[in-house]
């Protein structure tokens, strides 16, 4: 081996494998790691929990009402003697289902509309922007509240209501990205080759513009959990006896004054825990994507 080759050998840094670099990113961002662990736990419990829990969520035992946490009932029992762990675990499915549905709808509709608005500009853009301005004039929880109240207390209505409140965020984000993307070289090339507009918008541009929306989607998942449970707490959307975290908190609210804290505190803590997971992941994703850009 020549001297040159020998000199080059140990100093050449091996190109990092994809998996390795992913692992490195996660390791460097502790927030991300913690967030993923939290979410992993929640998802695991949601998936297997209902099977493992010994009591049913609607199973009442009047003689066992308002028992403090014990070995039998780690989170205690509520006014009707129902096991709170079971209700929390079953509620997880509902809350997560709603959260994901909301975000999928909001992301889907929002990015489609945002792409249209950003690509065509002109009147279309103006109209879309005015509509989002109006939607943004209402705090999202209040908007969701009003819509649910008007539509009626069903799960699909809650999903629609919250989704409507989140759509403007995705419209704005996507529109912003499309506005810069449509000036780039590859967009020009696609135009020159004769692609129809819809192809350029949705097949060429949109996939490249999704990053900020995906980050926002993660954060919205957390917000959706908080908003859903907030609505349920107020008596909107999901009502007792359906186990949902917000419902559980509201059912237990009256017991706080008499000292039976576990009926509200545990379900609420789970809400915070889950939202925390989404926020940690979303925030660190935001940091990471911002760094990459720089």
């Amino acid at each position: 081996m020549s001297v040159e080759a020998a000199a080059l050998q140990p100093r050449v840094a091996a190109e990092e494998g994809r998996l390795r670099s992913l692992w490195r990113v996660v390791r460097e961002h502790r927030m991300l790691l913690v967030g993923l662990l939290i979410l992993g736990t929640v998802l695991l419990v949601t998936a297997i929990g209902p099977v493992l829990v010994p009591y049913g969520p609607l199973q009442t035992s009047p003689e066992l009402k308002l028992q403090p946490p014990s070995a039998d009932h780690p989170m205690g029992t509520d006014n009707f003697g129902r096991d709170i762990v079971s209700r929390v675990v079953h509620g997880a499915r509902l809350d997560l289902l709603i959260a994901f549905s909301v975000v999928i709808i909001a992301l889907g509709v929002g990015s489609l509309v945002g792409t249209l608005s950003g690509y065509y500009g002109g009147i279309v853009d103006d109209v879309v922007m005015r509509i989002t301005d109006v939607l943004f004039a209402f705090p999202s929880f209040i908007l969701a509240m009003a819509i649910t109240a008007m539509l009626g207390n069903t799960i699909p209505n809650v999903i629609i209501a919250i989704a409507i409140a989140y759509i403007p965020y995705f419209v704005r984000l996507t529109r912003g990205e499309i506005l810069s993307a449509r000036e780039l070289g590859y967009a020009e090339a696609a135009r020159c080759v004769g692609n129809p507009d819809w192809r350029i918008m949705y097949i060429h541009l949109l996939p490249n513009c999704l990053t900020p929306s995906l980050v926002q989607a993660t954060l919205c998942l957390g917000w959706a959990i908080l908003d859903t449970s907030g609505l349920a707490f107020l008596g909107l959307g999901i009502r007792p006896p359906t186990p949902e975290w917000g419902v559980l908190v509201s059912e237990g609210a009256q017991n706080i004054i008499s000292g039976q804290w576990w009926t509200s505190v545990f379900p609420g803590a789970v809400i915070v825990f889950t939202a925390l997971g989404f926020n940690l992941v979303g925030d660190s994703l935001r940091d990471i994507t911002a760094q990459e850009e720089r």
């Binding site: 004039a137 809400i271 915070v272």
Partner: protein, 339 residues
């Protein structure tokens, strides 16, 4: 000067357009959604005659454009309909209860702004230190907290267990008369009239719901202040200032803060949104007689006129607030003022 006028005009115009859009949106919300509000109010077992009568009373029997016109006409007169639950005009209900919510919002904002700025500044100055990480952690935790749950936890902890907080009922202790109404805010009014009994009682009752709100609202403020300060601190003109030897403290307060003020102002607009949403939850739990609890009672009772009024009021306030902030920008930022 020309560009300032243009800027102000444009912002005013946009605000008006948005307000109109809000009015239309609320109409759509309350009249055009699928489902019959009369049926919702009366329940599924209502007899047809009762349903028809309710529809007539709610004005639902008219064609839509006529309904819209009536709606606009009433709004122009400043009327928002009559509350089904209280029997009073919605406007009267809202004006009666608004000061209570304002008092709560102001108290919470004050606490949150102070805490948020202190933590945000500290985090930015000592970026990536242990303190900064803790601060960021607190901010994320605050943003993940369910307000209604936190309120319950605080009540349990501070009222039931520790006895520091008064019973979460209303704005004053039982037996104490509200002070003479000047602003409608008990703490302010009792201060102005020297009514120390009412002052102490109202302050005591105000603190806890405000504290709960502040806890959650200070999270976004901390985040934004920190981000804004970091952004500015790393900018080129700060480096220039350091190059000519400006001492660090002066850079912080004279150059950085002023430039960071712009995004910080935006947070005030955002905070308002959170507060209004939060007030519905907090007022209900603390039995605080503001517009938030009014809205909740309206929801539970299917009091559509009241819901409509509430939503309109909130949105209108929001638009006006953002307009004020934008105009404030033009004062602070010469780039907008002078073009």
């Amino acid at each position: 000067m020309v560009s300032l006028r243009r800027y102000v005009t444009r912002r005013l115009f946009l605000a008006v357009v948005t307000l109109f859009g809000v009015v239309v949106a609320v109409f759509i919300l309350t009249r055009m959604l699928p489902g019959n509000p009369a049926a919702v109010r009366l329940g599924p077992y209502a007899k047809p005659e009762l349903l028809a009568a309710m529809e007539k009373e709610m004005g639902l029997d008219q064609p839509l454009p006529v309904q819209f016109y009536n709606y606009l006409a009433k709004l122009a007169r400043g009327e928002m309909g009559k509350s089904w639950r209280t029997g009073q005009p919605v406007r009267k209900d809202l004006t009666q209860r608004l000061p209570a919510t304002l008092e709560l919002a102001l108290a919470a904002t004050l606490m949150a702004v102070v805490v948020g700025h202190v933590l945000g500044l500290l985090g930015a100055i000592k970026q990536n230190s242990l303190l900064d990480q803790i601060i960021r952690g607190i901010a994320i935790l605050g943003a993940s907290t369910a307000l209604f749950w936190l309120a319950l936890v605080f009540i349990f902890l501070f009222y039931y267990r520790l006895g520091w907080a008064p019973a979460p009922l209303d704005r004053l202790d039982v037996g104490i008369q509200p002070p003479t109404r000047i602003t409608g805010m008990y703490v302010v009014d009792s201060l102005l009239t020297g009514n120390w009994g009412a002052f102490r009682s109202s302050l005591n009752h105000l603190f806890w719901p405000a504290f709960t709100l502040a806890f959650v609202v200070s999270a976004p403020i901390t985040k934004i202040v920190r981000a804004a300060m970091l952004d500015v601190l790393h900018s080129d003109f700060i480096r220039t200032a350091r190059t000519i030897g400006v001492p660090y403290r002066e850079i912080l307060f004279r150059d950085a803060l002023r430039n960071a003020l712009i995004p910080i102002l935006t947070t005030i607009g955002i905070v308002f949104g959170y507060l209004m949403a939060g007030s519905v939850l907090v007022e209900q739990i603390f039995a605080w007689p503001g517009i938030g609890s009014y809205a909740w009672m309206a929801l539970v009772n299917k009091d559509f006129e009241a819901i409509q009024g509430f939503v309109l009021l909130i949105a209108a306030l929001y638009v006006i607030l953002n307009l004020a902030i934008d105009l404030l920008y033009s004062v602070i930022d010469p780039r907008i003022r002078l073009g």
